[in-house]
């Protein structure tokens, strides 16, 4: 597996477009994570001026709540790693290197697991990055730091890694079916931001929760805030095993389809 990952790293590290995409991702994520609290507080401050009760200042980023909040917000940027994966997978088709790798001696299984290891590494890197942001924000925003509460809800980082992994296998599937980068990215964005939300809206009850990307997004649900509690809305504050199960089934399904394609197709 490490040998396969090394092969993928040689390709990825030297590919400039990927670095630009990664930098944009870090900038966008940093901007949102660091900016959103100020923004919400400004809005609340403005709106709450004439209310009889004083709205509490939001603290999204105090330990241990920070872990839930940063991973939830970062969830909106999952398309970035998925696009990176799509580019790296479709590159193999446009350069015909997928064929060359088999000629050079890679088995069909290795071809598949090389990309799976790449997705795994990407998910871990993205998770660590969000974890780093979360840690910095936590330090900056917690009034009294206690070691006990520091990592209390940090399992959200692990789940975030899984969320990215699951989303990227969906990208992997699209890339394998479509084979061309621009087209594949288009299909991903179209499905993620237009087609699935419409289907979700049309489906009765909570059937929409079983749609692929919705279920992946459900892993980390919208966090509670003091504001919400005042209004009387309670959101799920934990990771449910049911959500995990649905996302896991989708991940296995996507990767199995790709595996079969990799095994069977003429290159």
């Amino acid at each position: 597996m490490l040998r396969l990952l090394h092969i993928e790293f040689i390709k990825a590290f030297n590919f400039k477009a990927l670095w630009y995409l990664f930098l944009i991702y870090i900038l966008a994520l940093g901007l949102i994570l660091f900016g959103v609290e100020t923004f919400i507080n400004d809005v609340i401050g403005e709106g709450g001026r004439n209310l009889p009760i004083t709205l509490p200042k939001m603290s999204l980023y105090a330990f241990p709540l920070v872990w839930h909040n940063v991973t939830y917000l970062s969830g909106f940027f999952k398309a970035f790693p998925a696009i990176m994966i799509i580019i790296l997978v479709t590159n193999e088709y446009s350069y015909k290197t997928i064929k060359q790798q088999v000629i050079s001696g890679l088995s069909r299984n290795e071809l598949f697991f090389a990309k799976i290891s790449l997705i795994l590494a990407t998910s871990v890197i993205m998770g660590l990055l969000v974890g780093l942001f979360g840690f910095i924000l936590g330090i900056l925003n917690t009034e009294t730091l206690a070691f006990k509460t520091l990592f209390e809800k940090s399992q959200f980082i692990l789940v975030y890694m899984f969320e990215v992994f699951a989303y990227c296998t969906f990208g992997f599937l699209i890339a394998t079916l479509v084979k061309r980068s621009g087209f594949a990215i288009g299909v991903l964005l179209l499905w993620a931001y237009i087609a699935e939300p419409i289907i979700n809206y049309k489906l009765p009850g909570n059937w929409g929760d079983y749609l692929p990307l919705q279920s992946i997004g459900n892993l980390i649900r919208i966090p509670n805030s003091q504001l919400m509690k005042i209004v009387g809305i309670e959101f799920q504050e934990y990771i449910s095993s049911g959500d995990l199960m649905i996302a896991l089934i989708y991940t296995l399904l996507f990767s199995s389809i790709v595996w079969v394609i990799y095994r069977r197709s003429d290159l």
Partner: protein
Amino acid sequence: MEILNINQLTKHYGKLTAVNKLNVSIEKGSIYGILGPNGSGKTTTLGMILNVIRPSAGTFTWFANTNQNVNRQKIGAIIETPIFYPYLSGQKNLEIFCRIKRIDNTDIERVLKIVDLYDRRKDTFKTYSLGMKQRLAIAGALLGEPEVLILDEPTNGLDPQGIAEIRNLIIAIAKQGLTIILASHLLDEVQKVCSHVLILKEGKMLISGKVDNILLEPNIFEIKVDEREKLHKLINNTPEITLVQEHNNLFIVNYKNQSNGQELNRFLFENGLVANHLQKQEKSLESYFLDIIEHA
């Protein structure tokens, strides 16, 4: 020792049969040419024995061994055009090959020096000329000192100088004892480089054997004599002479190993025949090859 055995290998693309029940056996140390016009199934055949294309039927066995993963380490191959990551340097591209073949990066220097690309190793692949790209492909195939080298149209698209470079390189590599399988549509290339040849047409094998026997420069003569029957008898009793055609008393024969009309004339005379007409037909090997292809 048998390196490769192909048994009834077949590939269908819809209604088209690209390769039709092919049987081949390749011995160690030979330079095996697969000769045929474009579209005759050469690349499809190589694709199948390299696991790139799934056969519709039939089997093939490398090194009399069924463990594909072990076998693949002993095979170096290039197919059609050189394929590499354009944004990576020659060196980096070969590092990927090394990881795939589970060998150390130190072998890169050796193969780059063989193909004379060592000085350009740090330049990205897209800056290479076509000849250099093809040489890098050969370097990649040579990594890890494989026992078999598969080359598909290695001189395709190259200028005369590049063609000469690649051919000399192949001959030099062959001298080190590697088994080489070379696909080409160029008769002259197979003739210059190969020891054995298989001629393919529309996915079927027409003929196979030693180049010296099959692609021998024919010596075609036209002969006219009064005593037809006597000539017939003589031809039948002389293995060096084969009758190609008989038309209106004009015999067209292939006199093997003798390009000289004088020799044939003397031979006829010694056997009591006097020719009214004796003429050497100037027929190139190329047209002879085309004849094989046409009349099969």
